[in-house]
């Protein structure tokens, strides 16, 4: 098992390097070097430009040098100093800006993942064991709603009804007074009170797929001979379904946690823009529109890294529940 984990981590390294290269390339895509435009912007606003500071930054990020030198300096800064570069728009180091947003994105993703499983697994099992029953049809309709209506549209619809029917503003993840407050227990409780609507929105869009996967996988499994033999043993229907086919049917489910996380991050990004949540979504959008490239690149890279780690965790989980993979 340990050898398996080590091997999986080693495989992860080239993936991470590739991700960093792509993020860096994206960061380089807009024309011009950002320090020049930064200086120009400052001049335009009539502020004095500290040539020395500009040159220090230029030196630090290797601007004007060949691209691979810039890349190496960037990566070196990240690895040694956790220095993700400077945000031009916020005039602050990127690392100070992304921490909380990233944390909230992850919290939302994990939260919605848990909701989805809580809904999708029992409902999928029920649907599969009661094929063609009325609840099965209702669940199909529910899953089609999830597939057809994207998260940002749900966000719009919920925002409309909350505003007109309840007089509520569902935007944001915190109440006004906690918005810029430091983290405390009360702020955390406040977050829990706000996170469930966006969490549910993301869950609706992604649960549908999970529900259909559970149902389809289970339908493939329930007619296998090992289920019949378990039945012939005299086990009760409920116990045998949960112990045998569900266990096998859920394997592909766990093995795609990484992709599922990636999908959820996509949903969260769009939905957050609508509901103006303090996640990476609006931050990234703003960074991209104002060409604040170090910030944008850092967000892309960190989000991708997160899903890679998610995949790693799911692989380890899968090896733990399925002995066949562990011993391969």
């Amino acid at each position: 098992m340990l050898a398996y984990i080590v091997r999986r981590i080693l495989i992860m390294i080239p993936t991470l390097i590739l991700i960093s290269i792509i993020s860096f390339t994206a960061l380089q895509l807009p024309p011009g070097d950002y320090l020049t435009s930064y200086a120009a912007q400052l001049r335009q606003m009539g502020e004095s430009v500290d040539e020395e500071a500009i040159n220090a930054l230029r030196e630090r990020y290797g601007l004007g040098e060949p691209v691979y030198v810039q890349y190496l300096k960037w990566i070196h800064g990240i690895l040694t100093r956790w220095d993700w570069g400077q945000s031009m728009e916020w005039q602050r180091p990127v690392r100070d800006l992304i921490g909380e947003a990233l944390g909230l994105t992850v919290a939302l993703a994990v939260f919605s993942l848990l909701i989805s499983w809580l809904i999708a697994i029992p409902m999928g099992v029920f649907s599969a064991t009661h094929q063609y029953s009325i609840p099965d049809y209702l669940m199909s309709i529910f899953s089609f709603l999830g597939i057809g209506v994207p998260s940002f549209l749900w966000a719009l619809i919920i925002m409309y009804f909350a505003q007109t029917q309840l007089g509520l503003n569902v935007g944001g993840l915190f109440s006004e007074k906690y918005l810029s407050a430091p983290w405390s227990w009360d702020k955390f409780v406040d977050l829990l009170q706000h996170i469930w609507i966006p969490g549910l929105i993301v869950a609706i869009e992604n649960t549908a797929g999970d529900l259909r996967t559970t149902r389809a996988n289970l339908l493939d499994e329930v007619n296998k001979p090992y289920v019949e033999l378990a039945r012939a043993k005299g086990l009760s229907e409920g116990r045998l379904i949960w112990k045998y086919p569900v266990r096998v049917a859920l394997n592909p489910f766990f093995s795609t946690v990484g992709w599922s996380l990636a999908n959820r991050i996509s949903s969260i990004t769009l939905m957050s823009v609508v509901l103006s949540l303090q996640t990476t979504g609006p931050l990234q959008l703003r960074a991209l529109t104002s060409q604040d490239m170090y910030l944008a690149g850092a967000i892309l890279m960190l989000l991708s890294t997160l899903t890679v780690i998610g995949t790693l965790v799911s692989d380890i989980l899968l090896a733990w529940v399925d002995p066949r993979i562990r011993l391969e």
Binding site: P225, Y226, E228, L229, A232, K233, G234, Y244
Partner: protein
């Protein structure tokens, strides 16, 4: 006295499958009996209803199939463990297939050894887990006790190093070992009827011989009855005392194993026997191997009259394709469903 010996009665059993394309009469009026400790062979081509009969007895007919008529009666010794001889008749067809009584009989009084040992064990549980589960379910013993019983069972079926291999996963075992594990599981509660549904078809010939030998010796040791389902007549000759031949959901002939092989009466049985190769014949005794003309008819449109008449060489036009053949008792214990023997 005779009734003491009776274990299972199947009377006019009809199990149909209701599909969109039509109704498949998988089992269409089957009668037979199994006595205590005997081995009954059920023979027929694929799709003739052998396996569905077995599943009807266990009451695990898969959807959309259902028993529509007939009864199955199990004569069970009450309190086997306490040494009582009281016999109770249980009409299995009246029970709820998933109800507690049926569940307590299934796997305990009647156990199944399925066709494919490869696919019949869960890939993600150890064999020990699966055997112990059956023991705990029916005997209400502790986990440790169940484990030691499971090891005993594995030993009984000739499993090498059972103390260690009990924790093996199925993919770590060969086909023969898996089938032994499945047999150990079936025998773990000392059933009085073992239903073996082509238990050796998926195995190679040498393993098959080992498993057959094992089953025979276990039967002598434990005294249970075996209902042996197969399409292999050689295995029938080796294993069984009595034989039921099925064709298209009906029993066409029932007799002792000697009578079936030496004096087959139904044209179908005779044709089946002619289609197996024989070793050890002298050159001039050898004959061309015959096959049965045509193939099993479409299950949605069973021919009128005798279902075998389109393939039968002895059919009588205007009789076989019109009237249902009667079940004729030609000798004590020898029944044939054919007009040729009508008196």
């Amino acid at each position: 006295m005779e009734n003491d010996q009776l274990l299972l009665q199947v009377e006019n059993l009809k199990t149909y499958f209701f599909l969109d394309e039509g109704t498949v009469r998988a089992v269409d009026g089957v009668d037979f009996e199994i006595k205590r400790g005997e081995t009954l062979g059920i023979v027929g081509e694929s799709g003739c209803g052998k396996s569905v009969t077995a599943r009807s007895i266990l009451r695990i007919v898969p959807k959309p199939g259902r028993i529509v008529e007939g009864e199955i009666i199990l004569h069970r010794v009450v309190d086997k463990r306490a040494g009582s001889k009281m016999i109770e008749q249980v009409r299995l067809t009246d029970l709820d297939p998933m109800g507690p009584i049926m569940r307590s009989l299934r796997g305990c009084e009647m156990a199944l050894v399925p066709q494919e040992p490869m696919a019949s064990l869960s890939p993600v549980h150890t064999i020990g887990d699966q055997i112990m589960e059956a023991i705990i379910l029916h005997q209400k013993v502790s986990k440790a006790e169940a484990r030691s019983q499971a090891i005993d069972m594995l030993k009984l079926v000739g499993f090498p190093k059972p103390e260690q291999r009990i924790d093996a996963y199925t993919y770590q075992l060969s086909g023969g070992l898996r089938q032994r594990a499945v047999i150990a599981m079936a025998l773990s509660c000392h059933p009085s009827l073992l239903i073996a549904d082509e238990p050796t078809t998926a195995l190679d010939v040498t393993t098959e011989a080992q498993i057959l030998k094992l089953m025979r010796s276990l039967q002598q040791e434990l005294g249970m009855a075996i209902m042996y389902i197969t399409h292999n007549l050689g295995v029938v000759a080796q294993m069984c005392e009595r034989v039921v031949v099925m064709y298209m959901g009906k029993v066409v002939e029932e007799a002792d194993v000697d009578a079936i092989f030496h004096k087959p009466m139904h044209p179908y049985t005779a044709a089946l026997l002619r289609s197996i190769p024989r070793l050890g014949l002298k050159t001039r005794e050898r004959q061309r191997l015959e096959s049965i003309k045509g193939s099993v008819p479409d299950p949605y449109s069973i021919p009128k009259g005798c279902p075998f008449h389109p393939r039968c060489t002895k059919r009588i036009r205007g009789v076989c394709d019109v009237q249902d053949p009667p079940n004729v008792q030609v000798e004590p214990g020898h029944k044939v469903r054919c007009v040729l023997y009508q008196s």
